[in-house]
């Protein structure tokens, strides 16, 4: 075991943790004032609930030795049985297994919190709680297993995903799309003005997300080494490029420097650089981030014109940026791996398989879960409550 690596991953765990409170502010500020608490509550309850389910079952399903042909982990780590202070060489011999587990937990939390996007401003809080519990077990855990689990099929195939482009971003993006399609748009969507109520909150959230992402991508090197450094810098420069590109395109259209545009572009850059962070040289990270800013803005514009009210655009940013990032990794990988640029077409194909498999599974299974829940329990609050805002009715609180 290495004290330096333990230090590094411990701190990175903290950094990834703070992303979820950051997301609460990022997302909350984008909604109308009457629903801000509801969004923050969704993020904070995700922290608590995901952790407990992870403890008892999800970590095992994702990271215990495979039992289903690369599809799902077994029950060896149920209740964290055997996950202790010793290292577990399969994942890292430099740190206690417990540390690897809690670092991974933070990824699961933020992923589940991002999924709050399509639930914004219209959904019963009980239904949200039930949904995310099921989703964590049946969607997140298997996909995490495929890519990072011991014996997961995508990992075995050689798919490159440095810090969770498929597991986190593509997954959550398409899950969000499926949910949005099932539960339908907010009342008044595309008719009434639904203004972002607190842009400083969005920027506070962005600051914390950006900081946290250093832990997210840097920590994914699982050690304090040159790859961690590369990943951190790539993360940063990708975010910068994404922010500038989005801002410039928006400026061309509107002659305004939208601050939300800078923040959204930086987020798009961060997402796209995630799978590539430790595999590419910085110049490619810059390009990946910049291109992501353009693509995500394009998809977001299409989305906002469509009937699909995937309110906070997990699909347009996480979904789209995640796909582009996964493919870009297949194109530009050169550090400890090789992509198309180094003549390795196979890698690109593997990446595409990873993307398609994730989209298919995530969208399909999420749609099914959401559809069944919608038919049975039902997601939507009554229309008067939707108009009056969820903060008062669901939480008895006012922002």
């Amino acid at each position: 075991m290495s004290a330096a690596d333990i230090t590094f991953i411990l701190i990175c765990t903290g950094l990834v943790f703070i992303m979820t409170p950051g997301l609460a502010f990022f997302y909350g500020g984008l909604l109308r004032k009457k629903n801000i608490i509801n969004m923050m509550a969704m993020c904070f309850v995700s922290i608590a609930l995901v952790s407990i389910i992870w403890f008892f079952i999800s970590y095992s399903l994702a990271f215990a030795p495979d039992i289903g042909g690369g599809f799902i982990g077994g029950f060896d780590f149920i209740g964290l049985f055997g996950v202790g202070r010793d290292s577990y060489g399969v994942y890292s011999s430099d740190m206690p297994h417990l540390l690897y587990m809690v670092f991974q937990l933070m990824f699961a939390i933020i992923t589940v919190a991002i999924i709050a996007s399509p639930f914004s401003e219209r959904v019963n809080f009980s239904a949200f709680i039930i949904f995310i519990s099921i989703w964590l077990i049946f969607v997140y855990s298997p996909i995490a297993h495929w890519v990072w689990g011991d014996g997961g099929w995508l990992g075995m195939l050689g798919a490159l995903d440095f810090a969770g482009g498929t597991v986190v971003h593509i997954n959550v993006g398409f899950a969000a799309l499926a949910i949005a399609m099932v539960i339908g748009p907010r009342k008044g969507y595309q008719k009434e003005v639904m203004e972002p109520s607190n842009i400083p909150y969005v920027l506070l959230g962005m600051g914390l997300l950006w900081l946290g992402w250093f832990g997210f991508n840097g920590g994914s090197a699982l050690g304090a080494n040159d790859i961690a450094v590369l990943a951190l810098f790539n993360t940063h420069i990708g975010a910068c490029a994404g922010g500038i590109v989005w801002m410039v395109i928006e400026y061309n259209n509107t002659k305004k420097y939208s601050t939300l545009g800078i923040a959204s572009g930086a987020l798009a850059g961060l997402v796209a650089v995630t799978p590539a962070a430790g595999f590419v040289e910085p110049i490619w990270a810059l390009i990946i981030g910049g291109v992501s800013g353009a693509i995500c803005l394009f998809v977001l514009t299409l989305r906002t014109r469509s009937k699909i009210d995937e309110t906070l655009d997990a699909i347009s940013i996480h979904g789209t940026g995640g796909i582009w990032g996964a493919i870009a990794t297949g194109l530009f990988a050169s550090v400890g791996s090789s992509g198309l640029l180094l003549g390795n077409l196979v890698q690109l194909l593997i990446q595409i398989i990873g993307v398609l498999a994730t989209i298919g599974y995530s969208f399909g299974v999420t749609y099914a879960i959401a559809w069944i829940m919608n038919q049975t329990i039902g997601f939507r609050v009554p229309i008067e409550i939707e108009y009056a805002g969820l903060d008062m009715s669901q939480h008895g609180e006012k922002a």
Partner: protein
Amino acid sequence: MKKIECFIRPEKLELVKEGLFEKGIKGMSIYEVRGHGNQRGILLSSRAGQYCVEWIDKLKMELVVSNKVDINDIINTIISKAQTGKPGDGKIFILPVEESIRIRTKERGEDIL
């Protein structure tokens, strides 16, 4: 006594206030309101493109003045300070007031204004 209610652009507040001071008026109150009228909505940026906010931030200034004051003079003062000539400059309304009382002293009538 009359109550003068005027809707003005927020950035004109200090100018109007100074103007009224020069006329010897110092009792007044300000409300933050959102208004609708001839002024076209304002374009704001969202994450993608723009949206139009129809309700525009205005200030409403309210002053109750004594009948001894030349009300047209007050109105002209306000207009001269608040005018830009573009839609959205706002309106002034005059309402009758039957009585006024100062809480501090229980005095009544025009002289407390």
